[in-house]
């Protein structure tokens, strides 16, 4: 944690701590939100909501967890609430559930002018939700396993394994039919 943030929190200067937290975590919260919600506008709203919740809850932050861990947990919870609003049957416990996979449907894919790219994004969307999320976040975070593990609140090994399985499956799905049949 930034020592200045830590000092303000220790002294009970929560408003000043918050003023430093926003530039430190704003973009990371947004990237994590986008990896879950897959929609820029919804991710920005979730980022606002997360930071408002952080502001409200900051006086109760006891420092037992790292500040980043705490903020990412609030972010994930905010996004799951948003997914649940979209479709009430999203499971909080099973990210691989069919409901969770289909809950987030809006995909910011940009202009449809590259068939290979569009096909790959469609294939990515067919993976289990937690694998999709890990892949999106991995590239948003410039291929940093540590950043993905921190944001998802998972051990490093679990993240590596998720990414391994996701990309292996993508390669299998993306292979031309003649290669698969060979």
């Amino acid at each position: 944690m930034d020592p200045a943030i830590q000092a303000h929190l220790a002294a009970g200067r929560h408003a000043r701590a918050f003023d430093l937290i926003v530039p430190e975590f704003r973009d990371r919260v947004f990237r994590l939100s986008f990896s879950i919600l897959k929609d820029r506008s919804a991710a920005e709203d979730a980022t606002q909501e997360t930071l408002v919740r952080v502001w409200k809850a900051l006086p109760g932050f006891d420092g037992r967890a790292a500040l980043g861990t705490w903020i990412y947990a609030i972010t994930r919870n905010t996004c799951l609430m948003e997914l649940r609003k979209r479709r009430p049957t999203v499971s909080f416990d099973d990210p691989d559930s069919t409901e969770a996979q289909h809950a987030a449907t809006a995909i910011a894919t940009g202009p449809a002018e590259d068939p290979e790219r569009d096909n790959l994004l469609r294939l990515l969307d067919s993976l289990p939700a937690n694998q999709q999320q890990a892949v999106r976040l991995f590239y948003l975070e410039d291929r940093s396993y540590d950043a993905v593990a921190a944001a998802l609140g998972m051990p490093l090994g679990t993240v590596k394994n998720l990414l391994f399985r996701a990309r292996k499956r993508l390669m299998e799905l993306a292979r031309p039919a003649e290669v698969q049949a060979a």
């Binding site: 926003v22 973009d27 947004f30 606002q48 408002v52 790959l120 994004l121 590239y139 391994f164 990309r167």
Partner: protein, 188 residues
């Protein structure tokens, strides 16, 4: 011919013992020792070379294909407006936090105040009241007995002590009432 060999290699997949390392190696996160072993293996394994090439292509495509959105320019202003609104209208949780803080300050102040402030006030009150009674006793010795404020035969100094004690009792009751208010606040 070369294409069919490549496709054949891909269809067979990589050697199982190197598969995970190939992924880590593609990102440069494989430790030096296993990376060296993998390089030696790749030199003579067409299947793993084909797989590594396919993996590199997937990595490049994903990096280019996945959107990298950014927050809109007005984000900070909107957040500041929301926080400002919350500051002006604190919600119940904030009110409870403030009330709890006030309660703790009150208890702390009471702990300090009972040592000298309360007793000082009580002594001052008692002194003033006792002084008035002594003055009355000096001016009109029978007046206090006539008014029933002092029993017959009690000396002025005893009266002074009684009044001082009563003032101290009043101070103690005041303290108890304030403490009670604090406890009520905590229960609320």
């Amino acid at each position: 011919m070369n294409q069919s060999i490549h496709e054949r290699a891909l269809s067979l997949g990589p050697c199982a013992e190197y598969e995970f390392d190939l992924f880590e190696h593609s990102e440069g996160s494989l430790a030096p020792e296993p990376a060296a072993l993998l390089q030696q293996h790749l030199a003579h394994c067409a299947r793993c070379r084909a797989y590594a090439a396919e993996l590199a292509q997937l990595d490049a495509t994903l990096a280019a294909a996945l959107p990298r959105p950014e927050l809109s320019p007005g984000f900070d202003a909107r957040l500041a407006a929301r926080i400002g609104e919350l500051r002006r209208t604190p919600d119940r949780a904030s009110a409870l936090v403030a009330a709890e803080r006030e309660h703790q300050q009150l208890l702390g102040a009471l702990g300090r105040g009972i040592d000298w402030r309360t007793w000082l006030n009580a002594a001052a009150l008692g002194s003033v009241a006792g002084g008035v009674l002594l003055a009355l006793d000096a001016v009109a010795p029978q007046l206090l007995e006539t008014l029933g404020l002092v029993p017959a035969g009690v000396s002025p100094s005893t009266t002074f002590a009684v009044v001082l004690g009563a003032a101290a009792l009043a101070g103690g009751l005041t303290f108890a009432r304030r403490l009670g208010s604090g406890l009520l606040l905590r229960r609320g």
